[in-house]
Subunit: 400 residues, 2 copies
Amino acid sequence: MSRLDFYRSLAVPGDRRILFMVLDGVGGLPHPETGLTELEAASTPTLDALAWRGETGLTTPVLPGVTPGSGPAHIALFGYDPVEHQVGRGVLAALGVAADLRPGDVAARINFCTLDGDGNVTDRRAGRIGDEIGGLLAQRLDAMPDPQGVEIEVRHVKQYRACVIFRGDGLEGNVADTDSQQTGVPPLAPVSREAGAERMAQIAADFVERALVELSDQPAANGILLRGFGGYTPLPSMGSLYRLEAVAVAAYPMYLGVARLAGMEAHGVADDPDALAGKVLEMGGKDFVFLHYKSTDSRGEDGDFDAKVAEIEKADGMLARLVEEFDVVMVTGDHSTPSSMRSHSWHPVPLLIASENCRAHGREGFGERACAQGVLGHVRSNDILPLVLAHAGRLKKFGA
Amino acid sequence: MSRLDFYRSLAVPGDRRILFMVLDGVGGLPHPETGLTELEAASTPTLDALAWRGETGLTTPVLPGVTPGSGPAHIALFGYDPVEHQVGRGVLAALGVAADLRPGDVAARINFCTLDGDGNVTDRRAGRIGDEIGGLLAQRLDAMPDPQGVEIEVRHVKQYRACVIFRGDGLEGNVADTDSQQTGVPPLAPVSREAGAERMAQIAADFVERALVELSDQPAANGILLRGFGGYTPLPSMGSLYRLEAVAVAAYPMYLGVARLAGMEAHGVADDPDALAGKVLEMGGKDFVFLHYKSTDSRGEDGDFDAKVAEIEKADGMLARLVEEFDVVMVTGDHSTPSSMRSHSWHPVPLLIASENCRAHGREGFGERACAQGVLGHVRSNDILPLVLAHAGRLKKFGA
């Protein structure tokens, strides 16, 4: 019996409400002068109070030493094995704009780009065209006639970014990016990376060729780059696995996409603590609310220690408005993003679960070193959801 | 996707240098009078400073409660699953003397022994004959004519110890030891332990019979005992898995053997901290240096608490000469060898990783109890290598 089937066999309905809050990239490293991490330096009265009455620990997103991207990190948080369930970025982008993906579809991300007279890329972001032009051009690509036996859908994502979905019999998604990540050279051809993907590669090449004709009237966005090809295989939904009515509240399409992949009803709002908290408060009938806060990661990637501290404090304020509405509150990150490294890292992530049935240990605060001493110890990220379900009374006894 | 294939898919080249130092059997148990373990009692300024600025934890070599031999303990340290990759002692002995093993070869250890007129073993170590006689006798056994269809190579190891390699089509290594570990009885016959190994057992029996004739002129070493039969299946090398230029520096053939099994270039030196450190300092071009120190284990097996403390202090002094040459320093043991038990044990082993990206926690010292509170928590020994690779920037992000 698979791990998921085992937990599915234990799931029971219930009415305790779960807040599943992810502070993107929240884990950090000590500041060389103070010796405190971003989380340890931040003033976080709400998190501290939850840590005081709840249980804390550290979580490893994928495997020891592995630095995860946001996709696999969230797939793990939602209880799935992120190595077994690898999902292409194209699929996540398509789900992020609520495209109606079906099993077997292949999706890829599109960047509009600028090509010179020789066909070399001069700007991989087409002068950062805005939503209006980007949306219009995506519509034009979508309106191109489909080739025999294939349906092609193009959806705008944001600014110079879009995505494309290929639907047809026997399409295999393992096709290489056409974006070489460089300028001064032409885009790469979409090459099959395994037997069976040749037809998909050919369809993609034909799509690019027709797109160049369609975009030839454009001064900046006269080319496209394709990345993150992958086939869509739905995950067993959190509803079917755990009998949860799960919803997601997030500002960025990527996180809405991965939530939809897990079968959640996803609500996009402005990237603002008030908007996020307000939307969560509208979700009164739902028993599981995934709330995603991006800016902690963004400031870490900027290398701005103090700004990341400020974002953690904003998230703490947002949480203060929500705590009373839920029976179980879980707070963690999808991965660490230490400001000193300006990137995601492999370091384990602080974890906090508070409910009425906790071995509260009264350690001070919610920081990396305090959580390392927490009663939850070290867990894998895909252990978090079962723990949260247990606190919500949603897993029945195993055996008599 | 297997765990090794997964890590392989993330490995990238780099230039940060890794010191991977194994203090054999370093873990211990408290002295009944002082309440301190060997490691806690030792004065270790270098290890303490690394623990202060690095990350510590405890590592379980194989599985909870399992006391490992040196072979599987090192196979785990090198990142492989020691239960999946079981390697006979004969193979490790042959690799230890740099024998040219090929896939499908079967190897076994040889002890020269003394037999009385009735063929009973009177001394399992042939009066501890020295290297000169041992080497000569191994040569004579090697020079015996090979039977039809099989090549047999005999190599001297040390004193009364040698090894034998059988090469031929379809040889299976699962043959029982001929050493009953007793005196006053004849050696056992080499018996097949699974279907398919009957031919190998027959070849071994024939080899023993001819060896007795060849050695009949010897006063002490007139017999042989065979142990640790096993077939050779190379492990995927650390070079091919992780793009490492890995080298080993050790005094004992066994550890050179297991390092060669993992694809390392192995350098044997005298069993002396100066010689070991000197050889490590010659390895300037290599990005991964495995350094093995044996005496901590030997004194633990002697049951000599104070002598083990002294060896830990010598190792600390050796480490002091090396730290500045490396970007990432890892120190652990392959297993625990408490003086009070005079043997290997199952107790988890202190672990230390120091690099520029550490959640330093400033706990005092590098001891069993301090490490139990460390930020790394409890890991398996085969998690150590991926963590070290992460600290060296040698694992790229998984997914976007």
